[in-house]
């Protein structure tokens, strides 16, 4: 009996001792929330707590991902590598999602969990503590309060993984696009900013007000979001409801429509909406054919998730708002974006499909073909 106990004890002790031997592979890392965590030297597998971080990891290196936060839409996965679309759906903490089964995550043994935050409040930190204490996997908090933080987020990815070159490339690439969009935006006087309405929802009467993270790009690219609404009144979840009369009063010059709009999304969704309510035809943007569907796949260009995918929006939106101020070839730039970000070489037909939603405005189509 005694022998058995001793054998068992020594087995337990040696098992306990093992991780300490591996400690040389670990190192200290200070994340963007200022917490010091202990992570493996070269992080090879990552889980993100929300689609924001998952999008970041996918664009950085899809090999890192152990799974998605939600079930991918077939339209979107068409623009991805099949190999990664088959990754499991693991849940996440975002929107109204039910969360994650932490045991599944622990069993999948990622080297690191990332939590991409748009705020600097303590919530992310607290949540990360809970996750790491329950799974034993370190959690790094990334901050992305504005699109301008994107380059630094890639820099952090470089520090955590072995792929320094990739980090450098993405950091510089995104920084250039951000700078250019900012320059164009700054050259437009406040009084001449174009008035933009961002339509979402089943009837186009949900929007993202000026201060919402979901509409940040409109402001950043020099548009004037017509929905100037006090921060307190905004639903953090997005999709703030407004009335038809209010949209008429705002009378936007440009309407950006979410590809998720209406029942079928896209152009068809939009047509259903304007056909069901003739008041839309009284709005300047509709009268002048300046209604644009925000291209979507694999991640929407300006929002949802409000993550690194918005770099495409920084190429596209200035073109929609102020074509005369943009001296770049948008077709070439979008192709480059898909190649750099998603490793996807867009064919001309695919590019056309992505932006075909914008046939509504002949002007944009011309610009894209330029």
């Amino acid at each position: 009996m005694k022998k058995i106990i001793i054998v068992l004890l020594s087995a337990v002790l040696s098992a306990c001792g093992k991780p300490s031997e591996n400690n040389s592979d670990k190192r200290e890392y200070t994340d963007m929330a200022g917490r010091t965590i202990s992570v493996t030297r070269d992080v090879r597998k990552i889980f993100s707590t929300s689609p924001m971080g998952t999008t970041l990891a996918y664009s950085f290196d899809p090999e890192l991902l152990i799974g998605w936060n939600y079930k991918l839409n077939p339209d979107d996965s068409a623009y991805m590598n099949m190999k990664y679309t088959k990754l499991p759906e693991l849940g996440g903490w975002f929107g109204k999602s039910a969360g994650v089964n932490l045991e599944i995550i622990a069993a999948a043994k990622p080297d690191l969990i990332i939590s991409l935050s748009t705020t600097s409040d303590g919530f992310e930190k607290d949540k990360s503590l809970v996750i790491s204490s329950k799974t034993g996997i370190p959690v790094a908090v990334f901050n992305m309060k504005t699109v301008e933080d994107i380059p630094s987020v890639y820099e952090a990815m470089g520090e955590l993984t072995v792929n320094k070159k990739r980090a450098e490339l993405l950091k510089n690439y995104t920084q250039n696009i951000i700078n250019r969009a900012k320059k164009i935006s700054e050259s437009v006087p406040e009084s001449e900013k174009i008035r933009v309405y961002y339509a979402e929802g089943l009837k186009g009467l949900n929007t993202e007000p000026d201060q919402s993270i979901h509409s940040e790009l409109i402001k950043f690219c020099g548009g004037h979001n017509v929905a100037q609404i006090k921060e307190n009144d905004i639903s953090g979840y997005g999709n703030t409801p407004v009335s038809m009369e209010q949209v008429l009063v705002w009378n936007p010059e440009i309407i950006l429509i979410s590809d998720y709009l209406g029942k079928d999304g896209g152009m068809k969704g939009w047509n259903d909406i304007i056909n069901s309510n003739p008041l839309w035809s009284k709005i300047d943007a509709v009268k002048n054919g300046k209604v644009y569907i925000v291209p979507r796949s694999p991640f929407q260009w300006i929002d949802r998730p409000p993550s690194v995918n918005r770099i495409a929006g920084l190429i596209w939106l200035p073109y929609i708002f102020y074509p005369e101020l943009c001296d770049y070839n948008i077709k070439k730039e979008i192709k480059e974006f898909y190649s750099v970000f998603y490793g996807k070489e867009l064919s001309d037909t695919e590019l056309e499909e992505l932006v075909s939603a914008n046939i509504y405005s002949k002007k944009t189509k011309r610009n894209i073909e330029r």
């Binding site: 689609p51 939600y70 079930k71 839409n73 975002f94 929107g95 109204k96 999602s97 039910a98 979402e200 929802g201 089943l202 009837k203 009467l205 949900n206 007000p209 929905a227 100037q228 609404i229 009144d233 905004i234 979840y237 997005g238 999709n239 703030t240 409801p241 407004v242 009335s243 038809m244 009369e245 209010q246 008429l248 009063v249 979410s258 998720y260 029942k263 079928d264 999304g265 259903d272 069901s276 309510n277 003739p278 008041l279 009284k282 929407q300 949802r304 998730p305």
Partner: protein, 326 residues
């Protein structure tokens, strides 16, 4: 006489609501045809006809339907805590709508499936309770209602769980919060049709509800076919509730609170109570909805406002009223 006064209040409020809105409609030029370009006058007309009128009429009808349904339910179940969603109409409609949104039905399709599943839920409740209890006591009916509601609420959660987080889920969530901002004229026509179909039978048998609100035995002793009348009443109330929910989403409180307010004003006699519920319910929802569309530049979901305004008002009435609550 009292009812007449309240009908005048309703008409007055509706006309005021027609004048109020975010868009500056120039009524003088709209009527005289001068002082604005024909284009502007056309816009004014469209705003009144396509935006404000359907909204005001729908608010009146939906408020009326929900509170009348609540009033008769409270009577036949002899329970002041009963509301129109008692037998599963609301949770059935909510599930139907969510399912339709998930499968990308058109807006009309969403309303149709929502309406149909509201009615189906109550039919299931009725079938279960008739199978379980030959005596058809209202307790069994209420219990079956709670069960059916729970199942449909869980199914709704299941739909929300599987919905796409970027598109379908926000749509479902907002539909559930209750909102009249997007009602169209055809919605109004549909609700008024159902409201009439539900209201006329209730109006014709309104005095029988008094008898039904006594005990079951007393009602039967008075020679009444309680089962038949109860079925008619439940069918009418379900028709009205499902129509209301299918068009505007879930709006709580109206069906629970307004009947009590009506009883405080008009007394417990169902001869006037049914009609008065329609009038006061209409006034209540119209007032709330007008606030919802006028106060902020965003729309405040109705489900939230009806409760925030309704609860304190109800407490105030409760402290003022000397009527018994037993």
């Amino acid at each position: 006489m009292k009812l007449f006064v309240w009908i005048c209040v309703l008409i007055l409020l509706s006309s005021t609501a027609l004048l109020v809105g975010k868009y500056p409609v120039n009524f003088i030029s709209l009527i005289s045809g001068n002082g604005a370009s024909p284009e502007d006058i056309n816009t004014f007309k469209m705003i009144i006809i396509n935006s404000r009128l359907p909204r005001i009429l729908s608010a009146l009808l939906i408020g009326g339907c929900l509170s009348a349904a609540g009033a008769v339910y409270q009577g036949i179940f002899r329970n002041p805590m009963v509301s129109p969603d008692m037998l599963g109409a609301s949770s059935g409609s909510a599930f139907g709508a969510a399912l339709a949104i998930l499968f990308r039905f058109s807006i009309k399709g969403v309303e149709a499936l929502s309406f149909a599943s509201g009615i189906a839920a109550v039919a299931i409740t009725w079938t279960i309770s008739s199978t379980v209890s030959k005596a058809r006591s209202s307790l069994v009916l209420i219990l079956s209602g709670i069960l059916v509601s729970t199942v449909f609420t869980s199914l709704l959660s299941l739909v929300k769980f599987t919905a796409d987080p970027y598109s379908k889920l926000p749509d479902i969530t907002f539909w559930l919060l209750g909102n009249l901002s997007a009602v169209s004229l055809s919605d109004t026509v549909f609700v008024s049709g159902c409201a009439l179909l539900g209201f006329i039978p209730l109006f014709l048998i309104r005095w029988k509800i008094n008898v039904l609100s006594l005990s079951e035995d007393e009602a039967r002793a008075l020679g009444m076919n309680t089962r038949a009348y109860r079925l008619i009443i439940i069918a009418c109330a379900t028709l009205m509730t499902s129509a209301a929910v299918s068009v505007c989403g879930l709006i709580g409180w109206v069906g629970l609170v307004v009947p009590h307010i009506v009883r405080m004003i008009f007394g417990p006699d169902y001869k006037t109570l049914v009609t008065a519920s329609i009038v006061i319910g209409g006034i209540y929802l119209l007032t709330v909805d007008t606030l919802a569309r006028y106060v902020l530049s965003i729309e405040i979901p109705l489900g939230i406002l009806t409760a925030i305004i309704g609860a304190p008002f109800f407490i105030y009435l409760m402290t003022k009223s000397e009527r018994g609550w037993s």
